[in-house]
Amino acid sequence: MEAAALPWWIWPLALFAVTFLLGIVAVLAGVGGGVLFVPIVGGFFPFHLDFVRGAGLLLALSGALSAGPALLRGGLASLRLAMPLAVVGSITSIGGALLGLALPTSFVQTALGVTILAIAALMWQSKKSERPAGVRPDALGEALHMHGVYHDPASGRDVEWRVHRTTAAFFAFGGIGVLAGMFGLGAGWANVPVFNLLMGVPLKLSVGTSGFLLSVIDTSAAWIYINRGAVLPIIVAPSIIGVMLGAKIGARLLRVAPAATVRRIVIALLLVAGARALLKGLGWWN
């Protein structure tokens, strides 16, 4: 049956159901909803990619804003760490959003497919360091007060942290901003490795601060989509409601869900959705 022949309400309802499931999976796998939403909804729903990317940014933004207060209060996100990097990321995310809306859809779709497949590979290979050792604080990081102590509730200890390779991190977050804006992806998948592996930030603080950073970077890019008219409430609202309800269920399942299995499911989803985006962009599977 042709998508256009179906009654209009089928699609927002299906969107709600899919984003509800994505919300559960995203929490269990520790990824933002945007990275799953854009390739899956862009690949398998009838909506144009321009609107899907706008919705993806708002979806990721809503999740990041909602999680932010608890992370900041609990000391698991650091304003001092995120704020300087957020300025660079938000400027480049504006550039990415403008670029994404200016480039031909087939090019953006193809590049999205390649990016999603690369993210799947990154997740497969992912290395993490709970508490990176051998951090030699650099002058820029010290000048920006990128250091502190956070309380790890799991171990009951206070963990002192500092950063290094701050200049490289500015460039990395600049690149992440472009990708976030261009493809409408939340960028947690990239933020965490940069904080943790490049800058030497403890893993839990990296994850928490990534969420806060994402809220700033995605806000800038989201405004470009809003002002260009690329935000359709019939796509955005059910997606946000679905993913946020799903995230609540996901948070409850967190203790019992097998993390390794969920991670494999997410990687499989990314591979299928990335391949679909790539083939759609190349015109081989429309």
Partner: protein, 130 residues
């Protein structure tokens, strides 16, 4: 109270209010309590189109042009969306005086720069909206 806790409190309330407005507006829109500029039954014709073509055919506004159209359901939804986009600006503006009072000039300059970037993005000047 630290600037981080102040930020968290404002973020919490700002996000709650924004999402509540968005959900209420969406329910009014989708259940026909608020009249839509484009009938919902016709949306499948529009949501498959590239942005430029959608704008040309639907007559949908760009930039802040939706503000005078708040009697229409879809544009009432944009109030919630815009609030989500302004939460971070408000939180940054709230911590700015705290940083200045502590003479943390570098941090305050970073916050001010971020506010300018966000306001520039929101203004519509960069996106060509009016």
């Amino acid at each position: 109270m630290s600037d981080q806790h102040v930020y968290a409190r404002w973020l919490d309330w700002g996000t709650r209010i924004s999402l509540a407005v968005l959900i209420a507006a969406f329910l009014a829109y989708v259940f026909g309590l608020a009249p839509a500029a484009l009938p919902l039954a016709e949306m499948p014709r529009f949501w498959t189109l590239p942005l430029e073509r959608y704008l040309a055919l639907s007559g949908a506004p760009t930039g802040w042009g939706w503000l005078p159209m708040l009697d229409k359901g879809e544009y009432q939804n944009l109030v919630g969306v815009a609030l989500l986009g302004l939460v971070t600006v408000v939180c940054y503006l709230r911590v700015l005086p705290l940083l200045l009072a502590r003479r943390e000039r570098l941090q305050a300059a970073i916050v001010a720069a971020q506010v300018l970037v966000l306001l520039l993005a929101a203004s519509g000047l960069l996106a060509g909206g009016h």
